[in-house]
């Protein structure tokens, strides 16, 4: 049956199946009690990281622009949804219903922030775009640290100076307490919801990629001038990819925040470091390869926890991985090596041997190219 399908459909089905099988295996392991508490505690963050990696891959791999502020969108989603859940903890009795509404609100808010940021950011490209997204990510984190939000019988109070400036009635309670963040968020997320959200994310992203819009986005990535000349609206499609990516990051934020009792915007969870970590997932899994992002997120999250001894070296290993992968994939020496000894070559041993000529051509190209990309 699989053989008669289109290549993309087959690949997508494999991706969905992979997630579902991983879920079933994990649930079986959990129910038989053969999984440590540590790993169980990692299951929800794992789903959140996978969603983040898939959504960032939409920006980096499909749109071809490096965003270093992805954690900022996650931060928006996390705070908005946690604040909503805490405000309505008593008014909406059903835990699941409240969480679903919180997720939708998180997605909408992160999406709106994505559009607002996208309007200026997407006019830039390359290094400038990367640094501006980084700047926006840091701004979001900083702003979250000075927000005070409280609710009492008169309604919602908001200020950015200190908690006592909220001027609340005696029955008021503080929802977001500046740098301390949100405490006591209802613990609504679990592994099943996480996997369902991951599947929805995959459904959105994979369908987008294989649609007319997705092809337009990839055309912009490959050559924006050529794409514009055949009538593709650059702003519209860039914005589409960027805002969907932001929206999904918001969903991941909601999932993440409802797994923690205390949520504060520190540089560790919503700062630059988090953005880089997601980027490592995307790069390791293969830029533009959605399935790879999930696999990389799973491996890189579980591996250091399984190998406690290397935990100190985790970030060091991430850094070396980033550099090594880039050198292996993009440097002339790396490309030649892959063409000579790579898996693709071994698989196509009986086919026409093109790698030798391709390798030499590439080498000539590199030597002669002084002005590539001008």
């Amino acid at each position: 049956m699989l053989k008669n399908m289109k290549k993309s459909t087959r690949s997508n089905i494999i991706t969905y199946a992979m997630v579902i099988v991983a879920y079933i295996v994990m649930q079986t392991l959990v129910s038989t009690g053969s999984v440590t508490n540590l790993i169980q505690g990692l299951l929800v963050p794992l789903c959140a990281y996978s969603i983040l990696a898939v959504s960032l891959n939409l920006t980096v791999g499909i749109l071809g622009e490096l965003s270093l502020g992805h954690a900022g969108f996650m931060c928006v989603g996390a705070f908005v949804s946690a604040a909503f859940s805490k405000i309505n903890a008593t008014s909406i009795e059903n835990d699941l219903l409240r969480f679903i509404i919180a997720i939708i609100i998180a997605a909408v808010c992160a999406g709106i922030v994505g559009i607002l940021i996208g309007i200026p950011v997407l006019r830039l490209k390359g290094d400038y775009l990367a640094i501006v997204t980084l700047a926006f990510g840091e701004i979001i984190k900083n702003v979250m640290n000075v927000i005070y939000l409280g609710v009492d019988s008169k309604g919602i109070h908001f200020c950015i100076t200190k908690a006592s400036d909220l001027n609340m009635e005696s029955d008021g309670k503080i929802i977001i307490n500046g740098a301390t963040g949100i405490t006591g968020t209802p613990h609504s997320s679990n592994f099943t919801i996480g996997v369902i959200l991951l599947l929805i994310t995959l459904f959105i992203v994979l369908n987008l990629i294989n649609s007319r819009s997705g092809r337009a986005i990839m055309a912009i990535r490959d050559n924006s001038i050529a794409a514009e000349s055949i009538g593709i609206d650059l702003t519209k499609y860039k914005m589409l990819a960027f805002s969907i990516s932001a929206m999904l990051a918001g969903v991941a934020g909601a999932l993440y925040s409802h797994n923690l009792s205390t949520l504060a915007a520190t540089s560790k969870n919503f700062g630059y470091n988090m953005s880089i970590m997601i980027l490592v997932f995307v790069v390791l899994g293969g830029i533009g390869n959605i399935r790879g992002s999930i696999i990389a997120a799973i491996i890189l999250t579980l591996l250091p926890e399984l190998l406690r001894a290397v935990n100190d070296y985790r970030m060091l290993i991430y850094a070396i991985l980033l550099i090594a992968l880039m050198l292996f994939n993009s440097s002339p020496a790396g490309i030649n090596f892959r063409e000579k000894y790579g898996i693709g070559r071994l698989l196509h041993k009986n086919g026409p041997d093109l790698s030798e000529t391709a390798g030499t051509q590439r080498a000539h190209h590199v030597e002669g190219a002084g002005k590539k990309g001008v």
């Binding site: 006019r123 290094d127 400038y128 700047a135 001038i225 070296y313 970030m315 850094a319 880039m326 590539k372």
Partner: protein, 293 residues
Amino acid sequence: MDFLTHLINGISLGSIYAIIALGYTMVYGIAKMLNFAHGDVIMIGSYVVFITVSTMGFPTILGIVIAMAICTVLGMTIEKVAYSPLRNATPLAVLITAIGVSYLLQNIALLVFGANPKSFKSVVPFEPLVLADGQLVITGVSIVAIITGVIIMVALTLFVNKTKAGCAMKAVSEDRGAAQLMGINVNGTISMTFAIGSALAAIAGVLLCSAYPTLTPYTGSMPGIKAFTAAVFGGIGSIPGAMIGGLLLGIIEILGKAYISSQLADAIVFAVLIIVLLVKPTGILGKPINEKV
């Protein structure tokens, strides 16, 4: 008087940003890449001075010279190992590699020196200058930072415009292929640029840590990003631009901290970057670049 004090502090911080920004702007101008690791070279330089001067008791000048030498070697090694193989690769690959190098340096420092902040003893021996009956106090670090900044800018401008090596740098930044055809050693020139930038980073690191005396493995990253902001602000690739951008950014940061909100100071600096890029993407002194098909 308060305002004047803030202004002088701003100029002093701005001079440090300017020295860092010079490294960014030269590398960007020549290699056309954003050297994310520049901020972390600053951090390494500061640690070297901390160890040689505070722990081993070397004279200050010797410590700074050692730091400059180590940073120079480090900068050239980074360029050779990580960046030069990717010279014709896509910008995305180069940028990710640079982030990787930055992360690598931070984590090596974390393993070697530990996460505990070290208190950096100021290497500037001068007493603060007290003016107007104690209402206006200018610290020694401020004076040294401002003077060093001016000297470095003048020296670099002379170097780039008057020497053969400097002209080679200009030629490579203008058109790498044509420069190569004219017999300029492109790889050597790029390597030299990294060396100069990294040596400047060591000086900036010493000044930064003398002014803000806590040293951690993450000390360099935020000033590095802000200095890049300064370089963009002034017009990337332009040496006077980096100086102006650095000074303005330092002043904006200190005044923002004093009069708006100390928690939002970073956000204000980044907001400036965004506004500059939107209004005048080439910066104050930058030249517009047209994209050809």
